[in-house]
């Protein structure tokens, strides 16, 4: 990119120093040149850091390559893919992922929309409190996961204390992270804490995009509040809600940092989502070929979702 900026500088100087008619000709030529000059560095960077590695991953996924060993690379065809798709452990981690994605997105959507609806009542000070609510989603998921681990400590943690304070359950009678049935919920709670503001913010934009005259017309028709909500508010905010749902779905499908620090997939494999399995296979078992195939499978799934996401994005944009 230093190269291209240098060229841009030269072009500028040339254009600035040439007499008017000639400059116009250069200018006429250069629009196209500038366009490519401006786009090429970004594309080259993405090709080098994203696409080339992706192609390499595809190649590796058909081999028995192990990154920690200097053995000859052997072509194995689609063996890894058939192995993965028939491996009960992979299906287990897919189930864990599905549970995590479904519950986080469902809870975040309900609370997020409710909050947006309440904030849209435009009470005094809503701007300040909206900013306060947004803070968790700006934080580092890894650091958040780490400090929630502290809050979840069975003996000393604030979370257990809070639960026992309000329900009377003995605080040492349950462990959020250590318990097989509670651990999946421990990650859901943290994700909801962190990302509900995200859904709220997008829903709020949806609610504010509804023109007032529609409500006024409904008022003239004497539609009840309930009716107004179901036939105006919800349908008109729906594209925005969908956008938030899709994005949270994609992000949580890939979720790694928060869970890695909170539970590292444990206890056993009860919270082992797809990304954790992938990390284990790739960077602990060093089954590079196998994990490349798994990475490609995950990537195809995310790419499909992303496609839908961009379509939804464009629909919202037209509003």
């Amino acid at each position: 990119m230093t190269d291209s900026s240098a060229k841009a500088g030269v072009a500028e100087r040339v254009a600035g120093a040439t007499p008017a008619p000639l400059a116009r000709r250069i200018r006429g030529l250069s629009d196209k040149a500038i366009a490519w000059l401006f786009i090429a560095p970004t594309i080259l960077l993405l090709l080098a850091i994203n696409i080339f590695p992706l192609l390499w991953t595809i190649y590796l996924s058909f081999t028995n390559y192990k990154a920690n060993r200097k053995a000859e690379i052997r072509w194995e065809g689609t063996e890894h893919y058939t192995d993965i798709l028939s491996d009960p452990e992979i299906w287990h981690s897919m189930q864990v992922t599905a549970h995590f994605v479904f519950w986080t997105v469902a809870i975040e959507t309900v609370i997020g929309f409710a909050l947006a609806y309440l904030i849209d009542r435009r009470w005094r000070g809503h701007g300040f409190w909206t900013t306060v609510i947004l803070i968790p989603m700006m934080l580092s998921p890894a650091v958040v996961g780490n400090f929630w681990k502290f809050l979840y400590q069975p003996q000393i943690g604030l979370f257990n204390y809070g639960v026992s304070f309000f329900t009377g359950i003995d605080p040492s009678s349950f462990q959020m992270i250590g318990d097989v049935s509670l651990a999946p919920w421990s990650i859901v709670i943290v994700d909801v804490w962190m990302w509900t503001p995200y859904v709220m913010l997008i829903c709020l934009a949806g609610l504010r995009s509804i023109p007032d005259y529609i409500y006024e017309a409904a008022e003239v028709d004497r539609a009840s509040t309930w009716r107004r909500f179901w036939s105006i508010t919800l349908p008109m905010a729906l594209p925005f809600i969908m956008l938030a749902v899709l994005f949270r779905g994609i992000e949580n499908f890939k979720m790694f940092d928060l869970i890695n620090l909170l539970t590292s997939g444990g206890p056993g494999s009860t919270t082992e989502v797809a990304s954790i399995t992938l990390k284990r296979e790739a960077f602990e078992s060093w089954k590079t070929g196998y994990s490349s195939a798994l990475a490609i499978i995950l990537f195809v799934a995310v790419f499909g979702l992303a496609n839908i996401y961009v379509k939804a994005l464009n629909r919202v944009k037209q509003r």
């Binding site: 250069s30 850091i49 007032d212 464009n314």
Partner: protein, 316 residues
């Protein structure tokens, strides 16, 4: 803008407003408890931090911060007796635990790494993003929609899936655990966001400004630098903050691709260990210091947050 007068017919009743406000404020306060707890824990002594029931009132101490910035070694009482009186501050706190300060910890180099990598990658991503966005905004680029989709799609790649080949590639060309390697990687991730956000911002600047400048004899590039860039300054700043936050917070690549020289704060914080497990006040102190910039950025960004998280699609 059109709210008060036109909205009057359907405006919520004062009671509805008050109740809504109360519920939202209650939610906000509850979600702030974990953060407040971390800040409080950073000022506790290790025994206070693991006391049961959890201590809300405690005597503030800087032990967490002292432990964060130093490494310490335990000494025999006789040896401690033989030392001159401790200087007030960290020295005295550490001495009261029968230890002496052995040297500085790794936290400052890690913090520096975070700053270098975050700012380096942000600068590059915003630079590339600005010129690319300008090109897409002003020129007819063949397959523009497809290229834009390609640029955005790279953002959706699962980080671990990308990390496998990047790890091999960096190992082969000597970029593993280097600042340059991490900067390039974060630039690649952020540039997609930068292009999409900045395209939105530049689309909003009327073309007439540049056209007028070009009629006055400016070249296209001159007009871009002198007219478009100043107009896009707010957008560029907002984009830069988004890129900074991403790079600052990133963990997956950092933990897999760095181990020492270029390690940033997120993979470092969980491994701040005291005697007998995690030293929670020190961890909390690191977390507090790490989060302060984010608080500042969130407040600076609040008007542009929505745009940032929707890749520029939803304005307001």
């Amino acid at each position: 803008m059109s709210k008060t007068t036109a909205h009057s017919v359907v405006a919520p009743t004062p009671t509805a407003r008050r109740v809504s406000g109360a519920i939202v404020i209650l939610y906000a306060l509850i979600t702030m408890i974990p953060l407040a707890w971390i800040v409080m824990t950073s000022f506790k002594t290790p025994p206070d931090s693991i006391a049961y029931p959890p201590k809300v009132l405690f005597e503030p101490s800087l032990e967490g911060y002292c432990n964060l910035f130093t490494t310490r070694s335990r000494q025999t009482p006789e040896y401690l007796e033989s030392l001159p009186a401790p200087e007030p501050g960290c020295d005295a706190i550490v001495r009261s635990r029968n230890m002496v300060i052995a040297g500085p910890s790794n936290v400052i180099p890690r913090f520096t790494n975070s700053i270098i990598i975050a700012f380096g990658s942000t600068f590059l991503a915003v630079f590339l993003g600005t010129i690319t966005a300008y090109a897409f905004s002003r020129f007819k680029v063949p397959f523009a929609d497809d290229i834009l989709f390609f640029i955005l799609s790279t953002r959706f790649m699962p980080p671990i899936a990308v990390a496998i080949p990047i790890f091999l590639m960096y190992r082969a060309i000597g970029l593993s655990d280097t600042h340059l390697g991490m900067i390039l990687l974060y630039t690649a991730v952020n540039v997609s966001l930068a292009v999409w956000l900045l395209k939105g911002f530049i689309d909003e600047i009327p073309r007439e400004y540049e056209e007028a400048a070009m009629i006055d004899g400016y070249s296209r590039l001159h007009a871009f630098v002198k007219v478009v860039l100043p107009q896009a300054a707010t957008g560029i700043a907002a984009t830069a903050i988004f890129c900074l936050i991403f790079a600052w917070n990133e963990y997956a690549f950092a933990v897999l691709l760095t181990s020492g020289t270029a390690q940033t704060m997120p993979p470092f914080i969980p491994f701040i260990i005291g005697e007998g497990g995690q030293d929670w006040p020190a961890v909390a102190a690191a977390t507090t210091l790490f989060l302060i910039p984010i608080f500042v950025f969130t407040i600076l960004l609040r008007k542009h947050l929505l745009r940032g998280i929707t890749f520029g699609a939803v304005r307001k």
